[in-house]
């Protein structure tokens, strides 16, 4: 396989990126808003949004760009949360090492899940990932270090790189923002690389990608591991923000939630999951103080979304912008 043919394959899938300048501008604006957000909004809330946004982006890498619906991403998110929390609290490691360990654990889990699931397609893939994540949930319940349903509580935030004191809300916030930007950049880079183009080729037509000489399983596995690691990074960060890791993070409902966020924001768009995560987290926290039943509202949004706005919020906007075709 030569670079030239890869480039051709890529070009045939999507035209050259005309709006690079506009995209760069958008990101700059987004970053500025994010940097200023803690002064206008409650920082812990924005941090939560960022953690879930990264989680959703990681999930979207699979569904949006490789066409794989994983129904077991909670395992990576929650698994990493437990490992990070344990490393920081019990082993007394600094937060950066804790995060690293959490991410590594998620990557390992991802490799294991991926190796088992990747040969299956569609709904079987979803089901096998669900089954595996249920086993992780079972382990989280049975293993001693996870603290059963009480979870790991009172995780210290610590001092990042020995310099940044994360107990300060603003410092914590910018640390989380940095993690998010890092994760997002990784995804952006992956999607816009030849690797990302091959993934899209697989999503559109796997037999064709195989006939072009790509070993599609390897690409899918790599995408899966990458997605799992980033989901783990998000989970580990969340454990530091809330200073706890609990069963909620590994339950299958969490896997459902991330599907909702991605779908709502727009599958296969880079920014979509961020918007979706922001919206869902806002809704959950807003509805928590009202008498409206939260699941009914969320369910209704889900249904409306599937029936009317399948491209999601960002997807719909992009589709309506001049000069862009879905």
């Amino acid at each position: 396989m030569t670079a030239a043919s890869q480039a051709t394959a890529a070009a045939s899938l999507r035209g050259p990126d005309a709006g690079t300048a506009r995209t760069a501008l958008l990101f700059a604006v987004g970053l500025t808003i994010a940097a200023l957000a803690p002064f206008a909004l409650y920082p812990v809330f924005v941090m939560k949004v960022l953690c879930f946004a990264l989680f959703a982006c990681a999930f979207n890498l699979l569904i949006g760009f490789a066409g794989l619906l994983s129904f077991g991403h909670a395992a990576f998110f929650g698994g990493a949360a437990y490992v990070t929390a344990h490393a920081v609290k019990v082993w007394g490691l600094p937060p950066e090492l804790g995060l690293l360990l959490g991410t590594a654990a998620a990557a390992l889990l991802g490799l294991l899940f991926g190796a088992i699931a990747i040969r299956r397609q569609g709904i079987y893939f979803a089901m096998i990932t669900l089954a595996l994540s249920q086993m992780v949930f079972f382990m989280a319940l049975q293993l001693k270090f996870t603290g059963g349903e009480d979870g790991i509580q009172g995780v210290p935030r610590g001092v990042l790189f020995g310099v940044f004191d994360l107990t300060q809300p603003l410092t914590m916030y910018y640390a989380v923002l940095t993690v998010f930007v890092f994760g997002f950049a990784v995804i952006w880079r992956a999607v816009h690389s030849p690797f990302g183009q091959v993934l899209k080729a697989i999503r559109e037509n796997e037999p064709r990608a195989i006939s072009l000489g790509y070993r599609t399983e390897r690409y899918k596995l790599l995408a899966f591991v990458l997605s799992a690691s980033l989901a783990g990074l998000a989970g580990g960060t969340k454990a530091l923000v809330f200073q706890l890791a609990s069963l909620t993070d590994v339950q299958w409902q969490m896997s459902g939630e991330v599907v909702l966020m991605t779908l709502l924001g727009g599958m296969g768009t880079l920014v979509g999951p961020v918007v979706g995560a922001g919206l869902v987290v806002t809704l959950e926290s807003y509805l928590a103080a009202t008498s409206l039943p939260v699941p009914v509202v969320i369910g209704a949004i889900f249904v409306v979304c599937v029936l009317l706005f399948r491209r999601g919020i960002v997807g719909e906007i992009l589709a309506r912008l001049p000069g862009r075709k879905g």
Partner: protein, 295 residues
């Protein structure tokens, strides 16, 4: 008397029988899912919620209209079937041309709405539903005490399951159905109204869930959350059996009930997870499930 791993055989026998009872619930529920998937290519995530609705309809009939169990046994599945038909006509039918994924997501949303609404209205503690007088009491089988009601549940669900299997695999109507699954356009050309058939199939599939709900009402608390854990297990059953395979769903349901029964003796903590272990193993060896064909 010889013991098996420290468990006397009569205990084991009792546990297997109980496993079979649970298995017949799984079979009934997964049968509905399999029928729906086979015909509509929709993974019906709302199945557990509709099972709950079936139980609630029975409870509402008893409390507001004074209609007892035997009425509920026919009325509740009918109501659930009608609800299903409305859902199919207004929502699901728009998604057939799309990826399976969207059907799954839509029904997931519907499940959230149904469960949330009942929870909001009736709370979560659940409602009591009495065992019908005719089936009160039980039989002493020597190795265990078998409540009459449980015996009835096994009998009823086995009859319904194998009746459905027979209807689909051995009758003319079933032949139309199977043909429409293979090639809807051709069947339509033969003058059969395929959309109506699809609607009726969905209605029938969820009515089975409603029936299971009524059967479950006197055993479990009638609670808005009764379906939410079950659905994941029933999914696993259908996947193990092979998506869309009727016989696969029935036999796997029964088999997994037995497996679970044994797990409850030897490693009870894992009794919720054994289904997933089996699923992972089966899918590794037979990717399309025990009775399925890879599409």
């Amino acid at each position: 008397m010889f013991d098996l791993l420290g468990v006397p055989p009569q205990v084991l026998f009792g546990q297997l029988l109980l496993g079979l009872i649970n298995g017949s619930f799984y079979a009934l529920l997964s049968l509905g899912l399999a029928v729906i998937f086979g015909m509509l290519n929709v993974i019906n995530f709302a199945h557990g919620a509709l099972y709950m609705v079936g139980a609630f309809v029975a409870w509402l009939l008893l409390n507001y209209l004074g209609l007892g169990y035997w009425w509920a046994l026919f009325l509740a599945p009918t109501v659930v079937g009608l609800v299903g038909m409305v859902l199919e006509k207004t929502m699901l039918s728009r998604l057939y041309k799309l990826d399976h994924l969207y059907g799954l997501l839509l029904t997931f949303g519907l499940a959230l709405i149904l469960e949330g609404a009942f929870r909001h209205q009736y709370g979560v503690s659940g409602q009591p539903y009495p065992i019908p007088d005719l089936l009160k009491g039980g039989q002493n089988l020597g190795f265990m005490f078998l409540p009459n009601y449980r015996g009835w549940v096994v009998a009823a669900s086995l009859i319904v399951c194998f009746g459905t299997w027979f209807a689909i695999e051995r009758t003319r109507l079933g032949a139309y159905l199977r043909a429409a699954t293979e090639n809807p356009v051709l069947v339509q050309a033969f003058g059969i109204n395929v959309p109506v058939m699809v609607s009726l199939t969905y209605a029938f599939g969820v009515a089975l869930a409603g029936l299971a709900g009524v059967l479950a009402a006197p055993i479990y608390q009638v609670s808005p959350l009764m379906g939410s854990n079950l659905i994941i297990i029933v999914f696993a059953v259908v996947v193990i059996g092979g998506m869309g395979s009727i016989l696969g769903a029935i036999l796997t349901g029964l088999g997994l009930g037995l497996m679970e029964g044994l797990t409850k003796v030897f490693y009870p903590e894992a009794s919720n997870i054994v289904v997933f272990v089996v699923m992972a193993i089966v899918l590794l060896i037979k990717p399309a499930g025990l009775f399925g064909r890879e599409r």
